[in-house]
Structures are given as structure tokens and as C-alpha cells.
Amino acid sequence: MAEALLAAEGLTRRFGGLAANQDVNLSLERGVLHALLGPNGAGKSTCINMLSGDLPPSEGHIRYRGEDITGMCAHQRSRIGIGRSYQRTNIFPQFSVLENCRLAAQSRNQRPWRIFTDALGLTDTVERARAAIDEAGLSGREARIAGTLSHGEQRQLEIAMVLATDAQVLLLDEPLAGMGSDESAQMVALLNGLKKTRAILLVEHDMDAVFAVADRITVMVNGQVLESGPPQQIRNSPDVQQAYLGQEGAHD
């Protein structure tokens, strides 16, 4: 079995009387792309927010390499190797592409005391940023101001920033949202490359993309896990078809 990096055990999150997540179990392994599916309001965002530390769970535990990290906040989780991207593009729009990724890379070795050192002269940081830009397919765009990139490129930049933090676990919240078909195909190719060396959780609405990249799929409905298994099992599951795929049937 592959190395399990991040595991959610019985995660529950209540907002008042509403259980946005109830007893959710998930396991992310290196080399595996795990997709999280579900209709709007199923609790996917709540789940990813708890895993990234943006939202504390009401009950349950989160383990990273076996260690309980439930009490860690977002920046601590980032430091140990859990990176996330956001559904709504969340970059530094006034900065260049390189500076976006350089800041991300600098977080691994912050050196705040070196106040007389030019940050651009710290080659380890700059190189890490450039490598992430290359891997995310943004080479040649380093000097562009991030806010002027196309929507698809901004989504790529989101991922490049996570890569620049050297994250071992990628929590990707709808990286394909709002993308055209060409851009989607590019992103799918990127995800296929990324999962080889990392553990990925992909929250996504685009069914075709999910079935093209996922090794494992968990379907959530009303805050609970309905079914979890390999794509073939999910595709053929009557429960899933009933709850989520609806009248459209399976995507064959």
C-alpha cells in the first residue's frame, strides 16, 4: 500500500444545528489523486477547510503521517507540507508571477532577521519559485503582473504557488472552475503529472475531468460520505447515480 500522508477520522463540523460535515473519513496517499464529489452544499468546502486548517472541526481528528494535527492552524499545516489552492482565485494580483511564487517559496526558509539582505538575491528561494513556475506550465510568464494573466493562467499560478511551498499534500479546491475546454485539458495533464510524487485531494464539479484523473473518488451528500471507491465503482453505483448524477446517468 502507498504511503498514507493525510487522514481525516470522523470529522464533524456543526454550524449551529446544521451538520455541514458528519463523520467524514478520508485518506490521502502519495501517488494517488483522490477526488471529492458532491452536489452544491454537500460539505466539500467545509471538508477541505478543515483539512487545511482554515476551519476547526467540531469533532474528529486529522492526522499527517500518523501525527495528530487537529489543533494546528493554517500556517503551521502549510509549514509541514500541506498546501491548498482556493476555489476563488486567491493570489497577489499586483505582484509579478515570479514574486507570487517567490513569496510562496520563501515561506520554507523565511529568514526574517536578515533585514539587510535583498530577498531577490536568495537564490535557493528564487530557484524553487522558478521550478514551480515551470512545473505548473507558466514558463515565460515570470515577469507578468499576476492580475493581468488570463483566468486559466491565474488558476495555474494558484497551483504554482502551492508547489513552490514544496507541499507533499495538495488540497485543490475546484482548480478547473471557470476554465475553457483547452485550459481544462491542460490542467488535467498538469494534475496527472503532479500526482506521481504527491498526494492530491481534488474538489471538482467537472465530471469528465474527475474521471480522467481520479484514482479514487469519494462522493458526499448532505455532509456525509455516500460512497468511496475507485472510479469504476462510483460510476456504477446506483446510490451515487440516484443522489448525484441524477437523470443524466453515468458518464460513459
Binding site: 486567491n90 494580483p93 499586483q94 505582484f95 513569496l103 523565511q110 533585514i115 528561494t125 511551498t165
Partner: protein
């Protein structure tokens, strides 16, 4: 090309400031010295407002704490030692900022503005309503700190010309320090926090600690300005900590253009210069001042610092058309 032009302009401005007391009258030399001290104050606030995105409306507290520190450190019958009084005053201001920062940095946006103001008002009333700082009358600083090192005295702050150049040196040092700081890894993080603090956290930065460090540092530099101000005028009053003072320095930063150190200096010159000019004309000078500030906000986005670039663009635009 453009940055070279800017560098040349800054050097020229520095040369003018250096030459000024040799040509101008003593009155105007003291006025320029006052502006230079306030320029240090404005730069220290710009570190928070312009670069970290923290709009502090109580920055005079740290200015005032250091001013009182030097007054209280000066014995009644002889001068304090500069090399002791200066670091202690700056440290006192930094400590005040550190303690207040721990509380105020838990808030954001409009609440941050209100809470910084509230703490500054508390500090104001501590000095205003208690005896140890002379109450509402303040304290006279009968002796300017002595710069003696052993038996040797390199300069004498009681000498107006020496004090003037000491202030110029402090301004240049603060400008250089902040310029270096802002290109360092630390400075880059501050600018990232201004742009998108939430993302900085998710990238692995403990942003609270960075903001607290920036707040403390800005307090220390405001303290340096307060120290110089007290030494320059020879007395301190609770007014140094008042919200007017906090508002004035905020106006300097806005007028000069937030997030630009040279702009903060220009803002100090503009605000104090206009105050002097208008109060010469009429006793209702604050009305005129208000009009200028409204006009600046409406017609000068980016403040004075953005003016050269706008002028150049306009000239270029005209030569294209013509």
C-alpha cells in the same frame, strides 16, 4: 532611466536640505528641522499604513512616549547622555508599541483604526492627568543631551547647526534602513500581508508575528522622531500624544502617497509648509487646509509621490499627439 532621474532628484533635495541652514534664516532652519523630524515620523507610519496595510490612528502615542522619556531622563541640573537617553527613549517607544500591538493586532479594518486611537488616547490621558510628566503643562527640557564619549564631545546638540545636521543624518539613516528592510525577506512579507493576508497564512507565514514586529519597529522609529522633536523644541506636552498629532502624520502619509518613503517625506514638507503658509494668511487656515486635502484625495491618487510619473506620462502623451 526613470529611477536614475528619481535618484538624482533625491540627491538634489538632500543637497538643498544640507545647504539650507547656511543660506536661510535661523527661524526657517528650525522649521525645516521640524519638518525633517516629522518626515521620520511619517516614514515610520508609512511602514504600517503603506507597506503592511495597517492603518494606525494612534501613532502619536509612541512619538510622545519617547519624547517624555528623554524629558524624564534629563536631570534637573545637567544634561542626559545622548548615548543613553536616545536608545532608552527609542526602546521605551518600541516597548509601548509591542505591548499595545499584542492587543490591537487582533482586530482588523475599521476596528483596528478605532482601537489604535483608543490606546493612544489612554496614553494621552496618562500624561495629561498624572503629575509625573508635569500634567497638562508638560515638562521643559532644560539641557539638550550631551554627545560626550569619555572626555571627547564630537558635536553639541545645543548648537542649532549641529542639531540640524544630526536630524538630517537621522532622516537619511531611517530612509536607508527602511529601503533596505523593504527589499529584505521580512519587508516582502509585509507587502504580501498588505496585498492578501489570508493567502500569506495559507502559504505558511505566521502573519501575526510579522505584523507585531512591524508595529514594534514602526513604534521605535516614531520614538526616534519623538526624541528628536523633544530635543529640538526643549519641552514636551501631552499634545505630542494627542489624536491631532496622529491625524497629522496620517495626512502626511496620505498626501505624500501611501507606500512610498520619499512620498512620506514630501507629505511632511507639504503639510507643514501649507500649515505655515495658510496660518500666515488667515486664522481660519484649517478651512483652507481641509480644502487642499480633499482636493489632493480627489485629484492626486497616489499622492505627491505619483506626481512625477503622471507629469512624465502627460508630457509623453502630448509629444505623441503633437
Amino acid at each position: 532611466m526613470n529611477s536614475r532621474l528619481a535618484a538624482m532628484f533625491k540627491l538634489l533635495a538632500l543637497a538643498a536640505v544640507l545647504a539650507f541652514p547656511l543660506i536661510g534664516s535661523e527661524f526657517y532652519a528650525e522649521l525645516v528641522a521640524k519638518i525633517l523630524v516629522l518626515a521620520i515620523f511619517a516614514m515610520s507610519l508609512d511602514l504600517l499604513v503603506g507597506f503592511t496595510g495597517l492603518v494606525s490612528f494612534g501613532h502619536a502615542a509612541y512619538f510622545g512616549v519617547a519624547a517624555y522619556a528623554v524629558a524624564l531622563l534629563t536631570p534637573a541640573d545637567n544634561p542626559a547622555l545622548l548615548w543613553v537617553a536616545l536608545p532608552l527613549s527609542v526602546l521605551g517607544a518600541a516597548l509601548a508599541a509591542l505591548v499595545i500591538g499584542v492587543f490591537v493586532l487582533r482586530t482588523k479594518g475599521i476596528y483596528f483604526i478605532m482601537v489604535t486611537l483608543a490606546f493612544a488616547q489612554m496614553a494621552y490621558y496618562v500624561f495629561h492627568d498624572t503629575k509625573f510628566g508635569g500634567g497638562s503643562d508638560g515638562i521643559y527640557l532644560d539641557f539638550k543631551p550631551s554627545a560626550a564619549i569619555g572626555g571627547f564631545t564630537p558635536f553639541d546638540l545645543a548648537e542649532p547647526l549641529h542639531l540640524y545636521y544630526f536630524i538630517v543624518a537621522a532622516l537619511v539613516a531611517v530612509y536607508a534602513f527602511l529601503t533596505l528592510l523593504l527589499r529584505s525577506p521580512f519587508g516582502r512579507v509585509l507587502v504580501g500581508i498588505r496585498s492578501n493576508e489570508h493567502r500569506m497564512q495559507s502559504l505558511g507565514y505566521a502573519t501575526f508575528r510579522y505584523k507585531l514586529a512591524a508595529f514594534t519597529l514602526a513604534g521605535a522609529l516614531a520614538g526616534l522622531a519623538g526624541f528628536l522633536y523633544a530635543v529640538l523644541f526643549g519641552f514636551v506636552t501631552p499634545e505630542y500624544l494627542s489624536w491631532h498629532k496622529s491625524g497629522d502624520v496620517l495626512l502626511m502619509v496620505i498626501l505624500g502617497g501611501m507606500g512610498n518613503l520619499a512620498g512620506a517625506i514630501a507629505g511632511a514638507f507639504a503639510l507643514v509648509g501649507l500649515q505655515e503658509l495658510f496660518s500666515d494668511w488667515t486664522k481660519h487656515w484649517q478651512l483652507l487646509m481641509g480644502g487642499v486635502i480633499v482636493a489632493a484625495v480627489l485629484f492626486l491618487p497616489g499622492g505627491l509621490a505619483a506626481m512625477p510619473a503622471r507629469l512624465i506620462n502627460r508630457l509623453k502623451g502630448e509629444s505623441h499627439h503633437g
